[in-house]
C-alpha cells in the first residue's frame, strides 16, 4: 500500500495522518511536510497512524528531524500505531521520547 500523508495545523497543533508504508523512498514526503509546518511553529505534533502498516528506520529519522526542527519542547504524539510499529519504537528507545496513545483529544 503506497504511503500517503495529509497535514493540517489547528490551534497550534500540527496534525498529520500517515497511511501505507513509510520507507526510505517515501520518508522524504514526510520530512517535507514537517519542514512546511515548522514555519508555523506548532506547539504539539500529533501523528495519526492507524493505517500505517510499515515503518523503516527512515521514518524514525524523520521523527528525530521533527524533534530537532520543531524544538525539544514540542511533544510528539503517535496515535493508534499498529503493533509492529510500537515494537520498532520500543526496541529503539523512541517510546521514551514520544507519547503513544490509542486516541487523541486536544486536551492531550
Amino acid at each position: 500500500m503506497p504511503f500517503s500523508i495529509s497535514a493540517q495545523i489547528v490551534n497550534d497543533v500540527a496534525k498529520f495522518t500517515l497511511s501505507g508504508e513509510l520507507d526510505a523512498g517515501s520518508a522524504g514526503n514526510f520530512r517535507t511536510e514537517i519542514e512546511k509546518i515548522a514555519a508555523q511553529k506548532p506547539k504539539r505534533l500529533v501523528l495519526f497512524v492507524k493505517d500505517l502498516t510499515f515503518m523503516a528506520s527512515a521514518g524514525l529519522r524523520v521523527l528525530i528531524f521533527a524533534k530537532q526542527k520543531l524544538g525539544a519542547e514540542v511533544p510528539i504524539y503517535i496515535i493508534s500505531p499498529q503493533e509492529p510499529i510500537v515494537d520498532t519504537l520500543e526496541k529503539t528507545g523512541f517510546l521514551q521520547s514520544v507519547y503513544v496513545a490509542p486516541e487523541y483529544t486536544d486536551e492531550g
Binding site: G25, F54, T88, K91, G93
Partner: protein, 144 residues
C-alpha cells in the same frame, strides 16, 4: 520462490517487501516474524541502493533468492555496489537509545533493525559482489 532481480532504486523497496512477504507466507511464518524479516531486508536493500549504488554513482540490480529447508527460511540479496559489510557498522547502544530524541545519532538504526529482525545475519563478498544473507529458523515463528 523463484529468484528475482530488482532495479537498484528506492522504487523497488515495496516490490522487494512483497517478494519477501510471499516467501515468508510460503514458509508459514507468523505475522511478527514476517514483519521482522521484511524490515531487515528493507533496511539492507535501502543501504545497498542509497550507498552502494546511488551514493557511489553506480547503477545496478539487487538479485534476490530464497531457500527453504530444514526448518529454515533464508533470503539472499546479491548486488554489485560498493563493498560493504553491515556487521562492521557501528550500532547504536543502550546509551544512544536513552538519549532525548533531538540528541540521538541517526546512524546505525537501520542496520540495528536489520540484525534484530532475523535469527541470523551473514555477509559474504564473492566474485566482486556483496551477498547479504538473512536467516529465520521458522519452526519457532510459525503459525501452527
Amino acid at each position: 520462490m523463484e529468484p528475482k532481480s530488482f532495479a537498484g532504486t528506492l522504487d523497488s523497496l515495496s516490490l522487494i517487501r512483497e517478494y519477501v512477504t510471499s516467501a515468508a507466507n510460503s514458509a508459514g511464518l507468523d505475522r511478527k516474524a514476517t514483519y521482522g524479516l521484511c524490515l531487515a531486508v528493507d533496511e539492507i536493500a535501502t543501504n545497498i541502493i542509497v550507498h552502494g549504488y546511488e551514493g557511489a554513482g553506480r547503477s545496478g540490480v539487487l538479485d534476490m533468492r530464497t531457500e527453504m529447508e530444514s526448518g529454515t527460511l533464508t533470503v539472499i540479496i546479491e548486488d554489485d555496489g560498493v563493498a560493504f559489510d553491515p556487521r562492521e557498522n557501528k550500532l547504536p547502544d543502550s546509551e544512544d537509545f536513552s538519549k532525548p530524541l533531538e540528541n540521538r545519532p541517526i546512524g546505525g538504526l537501520g542496520v540495528f533493525l536489520a540484525f534484530d529482525g532475523v535469527d541470523e545475519f551473514k555477509y559474504e563478498r564473492s566474485g566482486g559482489r556483496n551477498r547479504n544473507i538473512f536467516v529465520v529458523h521458522h519452526q519457532s515463528h510459525t503459525n501452527t
